[in-house]
């Protein structure tokens, strides 16, 4: 099994969710995140004092998937999240040793 982590633009979340659902992905865990990269933040001014806001809001998804589905999931996310503009985000894949579904105690594939 693998853990696919994706960092995407917030307003793309809805599209990604739908694409994943269509691809048969039934579960995931979502966190709010901030991104730092080529996409630049902006400058804010409070009573004349300037601040650089270097972080950009992002959504971070974690999906544990069967080895065979990794390819599909990664591709589904990348295409759904793409706008072609800087800051579209990254998707990375990490190996997973085991998974448990807390409710039933089922493990591995059965737990997804």
């Amino acid at each position: 099994m693998k853990l696919v982590t994706a960092v995407i633009k917030p307003h793309k979340w809805e599209e990604v969710r739908e694409a994943l659902a269509a691809a048969g992905v039934a579960g995931m865990t979502v966190t709010e995140a901030s991104g730092y990269g080529q996409q630049k933040g902006h400058t804010e001014v409070y009573r004349g004092a300037e601040y650089d806001v270097s972080l950009v809001p992002k959504i971070r998804l974690e999906i544990v998937v069967d080895d065979v589905d990794v390819e599909t999931v990664v591709t589904t996310i990348s295409s759904a999240a793409q706008t072609g503009k800087i800051g579209d985000g990254k998707v990375w894949v990490v190996p997973v040793d085991s998974v448990v579904r807390v409710r039933t105690g089922e493990t591995d594939e059965a737990a997804l």
Binding site: T43, E44, V45, G48, L55
Partner: protein, 435 residues
Amino acid sequence: MDTGQAAWMLASSAMVLLMTPALALFYGGMTRSKSVLNMMMMSFGAMGVVVPIYILWGWSASYGTDLFGDGAAGLMGNPFEMFGLADVQGAIGEDGSGALISVAFQMTFAILTVALISGAIADRAKYSTWLVFAAIWVTLSYFPLAHMVWGGGFLSGEDGSLASLLYDGVAPIDYAGGTVVHINAGVAGLVLALVIGARRGFGSEPMRPHSLPLTMLGAGVLWFGWFGFNVGSFVSYDDLDFATSWVDETGLVWINTTAATAAAILGWLVVEKIRDGKATSLGAASGIVAGLVAVTPACGALSPLGSLVLGLVAGALCALAVGLKYRFGFDDSLDVVGVHLVGGLVGTVGIGFLATSGGLFYGDGVAQLVVQTVVALFAVLWAGVVTLVIALALKAVMGWRVDPEDEVAGIDFAEHGESAYDLASTGGTTFKTGA
């Protein structure tokens, strides 16, 4: 004006002024967190723009001698007659008449009316265009209507007025601004929403309120301020069968204002309970405003029981009306139409049924009802045409919309360079330089 009446007018003026910041909260809570500052700034900007204008030519255009014709029942006062409040006392009465207090009071109405409109164009309008719009609109739509209704103009009961052409001796009733304030702002909101177009994602993306406690706070303070609005608007009608003195009439207006508002909460919540299964806090806050809007023109003409009925109807109808924008596809973002236009119409026309003196339900025939309806329609027409012309002109000259990318990222940063909240332990922010 004796000192007691003056004391109440001073308090009322301050209370109505407070309504604009309260409206900013009410509206601000309903937007997404990325555009709350812009929403509030449209109200605060209205305060900055309208006050100087009111002092310069607003009072004069509202209460000055008719601009055209023989000075009776016209469309607008002469804006230069009392320019800069020159000689206000001399022009309208002797010393001690409280003329300046009346100016103070009326000024706050003009600010609020402009601010009300902003709810229709949340999240997407260029701030500079909004400020220019505020200045022109208050001059061409608000002052004329104020003149027509309260300044002895075309929608008053004076000789030569619309009402006098229909029925002799049946004056239209608009105690505190059903036409001038609410129908006026509601129509302007509708026109702007149409001219400017919908927010990106309207009707598909979620746009739920970012802070309902802020909205409820706003609604509570609006209710408070509205006592100034309504009860401060004492007008001496001859035929009130219930209140016969300042002390009595103000008491009645106070009670009516509260009665309609409470009933409108119930009206709105009942519709929600039936239609959606749950009575919401946004519904209660909205019901408050709907009730206050409807009772605004009517508060001096009804009995407390009549006010309960009016409020119940207004709450229910407005609760239904806020859905229209999805049906017809116009993005009146915070329901200026559903609440102010509909509520204003309910109140203005409702007087025709419920007025203790003149109302159909009190056996006084349809004269008042016809007059109220015709006046309301005239106000719709006036506000519609004037707003359309201004909105289109500004669209051509300045443009109305911010950059689409900025709209998605949030108008607060794009137009004001700020974010509303920084509740996190880090905002990833770096200090660059002091002013």
